[in-house]
């Protein structure tokens, strides 16, 4: 008898991996070990991980295998390895947020999301690299060095969740967790050829998620397929009494939607404002083809205007820094994290200021100062107050659009992955990477990015963004699943198969 030829374990998706473990075709320990070996082999080049928890991962995998041996029922993700963004607390495992401020910090508690993953039997391989405190669009703002894009290691993997997206694209993990404050799940997904979802604000608990901008931050799933993202979405979403902004309502049926692969009769709106100057030709080409594909698949496509979206970027860069200036005040060198200059002669205030100078990187400092400025008396009404009005106008634009269509689509980000260093000290150029993703954060609705091809001019991945109303996250998966299936049929393989070997 000959064994059926199977692709290597690291190429399997999450659903396939969990199925093979449940059937006993492979043990969870073998799966974990295969991924740990892969990390060992390629992560020196990619730098997706800040910490690899070998012992913890193998122990979690053994627990899944023991559960199966006892005949207990396994969940749909039991034994599946995952890369966790280093912004969620993990009891006993370092959590740095990509900052020197938290170097060596071992949290004494798990985030609710971490607990949910553990309860689902997910095997957490380690913590992934990110822009410091999730501020950035390239992962270059990490205090621990940039992450390379597996498609071209000299280019950025997006940010802030570049480590999570790169871990997927480098086949270091089939699942990852990101957080999205202005696009930090979707933009890395777009530039690495992976799937990333920002769920409706309030649907995934923020307890234990180190806060950057509390009214915008949202954790969510990252994967190599729409179905895998849906399975992870279902595992992490749901009400949490420990987060007072958590939505107390059932999670939309995202897994069912991902399996439908049918958009017939759906109404899809193309956001008129997200095109034109600054958009790379190859990005627009793949986007236009995706829109045409949706039409061929039986959706009705119309153009929609959301005039306030042009003010989203300026409003975001007032609201997010304002909230950040307040949230990051907790890093005062007193209770945890870095402390410098405590030589017995200096006051607490001096030690705080010296520590923050030494512990924060440039982008964090810029945003703290910008936020402090925007909240100053004399400027508050003109800046912060106006930004909050823009937020209302953006929500109204979405409401008007969703009165006529089921979902909106746009490119996820205006360009493909840019070279490491190109925008590193040009904040405004960097901020433009989040142009199309920010409106959903301001309105709190749901959005996904999925790969729709390579830009012909540079052979780098392009993402399609799908936006749905709050608590209609299932529509993202319905549309995304249909587009993904049609494209994979056309190509004969997934887009990531075209990525160069590392």
């Amino acid at each position: 008898m000959t064994e059926p030829i199977r692709t290597p374990i690291i190429k399997w998706g999450a659903a396939e991996t969990a199925g093979a473990i449940a059937k006993g075709e492979v043990s969870a320990v073998e799966v974990a070990q295969a991924h740990l070996d892969r990390i060992d082999a390629v992560d020196k080049k990619v730098n997706a991980f800040l910490h690899v928890d070998t012992e913890g991962a193998l122990a979690a995998a053994r627990a899944v295998d023991e559960k199966r041996a006892k005949g207990e029922e396994l969940g749909p993700l039991a034994g599946v390895p995952l890369a966790l963004k280093d912004v969620f607390t993990t009891k006993g495992v370092p959590t740095t947020c990509g900052s020197k401020m938290l170097e060596g910090w071992i949290p004494p508690y798990d985030a609710t999301l971490t607990t949910r993953l553990k309860d689902a039997g997910v095997v957490i391989l380690g913590k992934t690299n990110m822009d410091e405190f999730a501020m950035g669009s390239s992962t270059e703002n990490s205090a621990y060095g940039p992450t390379g894009n597996p498609w071209d290691l000299t280019r950025i993997p997006g940010g802030s969740g570049g480590g999570s997206a790169a871990a997927l694209a480098a086949f270091e993990a089939p699942l990852a967790i990101g957080t999205d404050t202005g696009g930090s799940i979707r933009q890395p997904g777009a530039v690495t050829g992976t799937v990333g979802v920002k769920p409706t604000y309030g649907s995934v608990s923020r307890y234990g998620l180190v806060a950057f901008s509390s009214s915008l931050d949202q954790g969510g799933p990252c994967a190599r397929s729409v179905l895998d993202a849906a399975l992870l979405h279902e595992a992490i979403a749901g009400h949490d009494p420990l987060d007072s902004t958590s939505i107390d309502a059932p999670v939309p049926a995202v897994v069912e939607a991902a399996r439908m692969r049918d958009v017939r009769g759906m109404r899809i709106g193309v956001v008129k404002e997200f095109s034109g100057e600054g958009y790379q030709a190859g990005v627009m080409q793949r986007f236009d083809e995706s829109v045409e594909l949706l039409r061929e698949l039986g959706a009705e496509v119309v153009e929609v205007s959301c005039p306030s979206f042009t003010l989203a970027l300026p409003a975001y860069y007032l609201i997010a820094p304002s909230e950040c200036s307040s949230n990051l005040a907790r890093f005062d060198a007193m209770r945890y994290g870095l402390r410098v200059g405590d030589d017995g002669s200096r006051s607490a205030e001096e030690v705080t200021a010296l520590t923050r100078e030494a512990g924060f990187g440039d982008e964090v400092k810029r945003r703290i100062i910008l936020g402090t400025y925007a909240l100053s008396s004399g400027y508050y009404d003109a800046y912060y107050g106006s930004a909050q009005k823009v937020r209302t106008l953006i929500s109204r634009d979405f409401d008007a659009a969703f009165a006529g269509v089921d979902v909106l689509v746009s490119p996820t980000t205006p360009t493909t992955a840019f070279p490491i260093g190109e925008r590193a000290d040009d904040p405004m150029a960097m901020y433009l990477a989040d142009l199309c993703t920010i409106p959903s954060n301001l309105a709190g609705n749901a959005a996904m990015s999925l790969p729709v091809g390579l830009a012909p001019e540079d052979n780098l991945p392009v993402g399609l963004q799908i936006i749905a109303p709050a608590m209609a996250d299932d529509r993202l998966y319905r549309v995304g699943g249909a587009v993904e299936a049609a494209l994979n049929d056309k190509w004969g393989h997934t887009l990531l198969e075209e990525a160069p070997a590392l």
């Binding site: 071992i106 949290p107 004494p108 508690y109 604000y201 309030g202 009214s215 009494p241 007072s244 902004t245 939505i247 003010l311 300026p314 409003a315 860069y317 200036s325 005040a329 060198a333 007193m334 209770r335 945890y336 994290g337 402390r339 405590d342 017995g344 200096r346 006051s347 607490a348 001096e350 010296l354 923050r356 100078e357 924060f360 440039d362 400092k365 810029r366 703290i368 100062i369 910008l370 402090t372 400025y373 003109a382 800046y383 107050g385 106006s386 930004a387 909050q388 009005k389 823009v390 937020r391 209302t392 106008l393 929500s395 904040p427 405004m428 301001l442 309105a443 709190g444 609705n445 709050a470």
Partner: protein, 98 residues
């Protein structure tokens, strides 16, 4: 109205408890001036009669059951402290020389 001076950045840094170096002040002042020039566009809507949105969810007074739950032990709470003494956080002198 847009624009920010090096002196203003120095003042904001003091308010934010950031002991910036002189070269950082030069660099940030230049960059923040550009950023503020760009974000100032929001003031286009300043005169409009639109209610502000501070949060995407209209939630107020969220309560949970008043039940005793396990919490961190003193040892756990102090585990990340830069300095601890007698089961307390040890901090530098609160009042400075001046």
């Amino acid at each position: 109205m847009p624009g920010i001076t090096r002196e203003e950045v120095a003042h904001l840094a003091r308010l934010s408890r950031l002991e910036l170096k002189p070269e950082e002040l030069d660099h940030f002042a230049e960059q923040l001036d550009v950023i503020i020039g760009a974000v100032a566009r929001v003031s286009e809507v300043a005169g409009q009669d639109v209610p502000p949105t501070s949060h995407p969810l209209p939630l107020t007074n969220v309560m949970r059951a008043d039940e005793v739950r396990p919490s961190l032990t003193a040892e756990q709470a102090l585990s990340g402290a830069p300095a601890a003494e007698d089961q307390r956080f040890r901090v530098p002198q609160i009042l400075g020389e001046d």
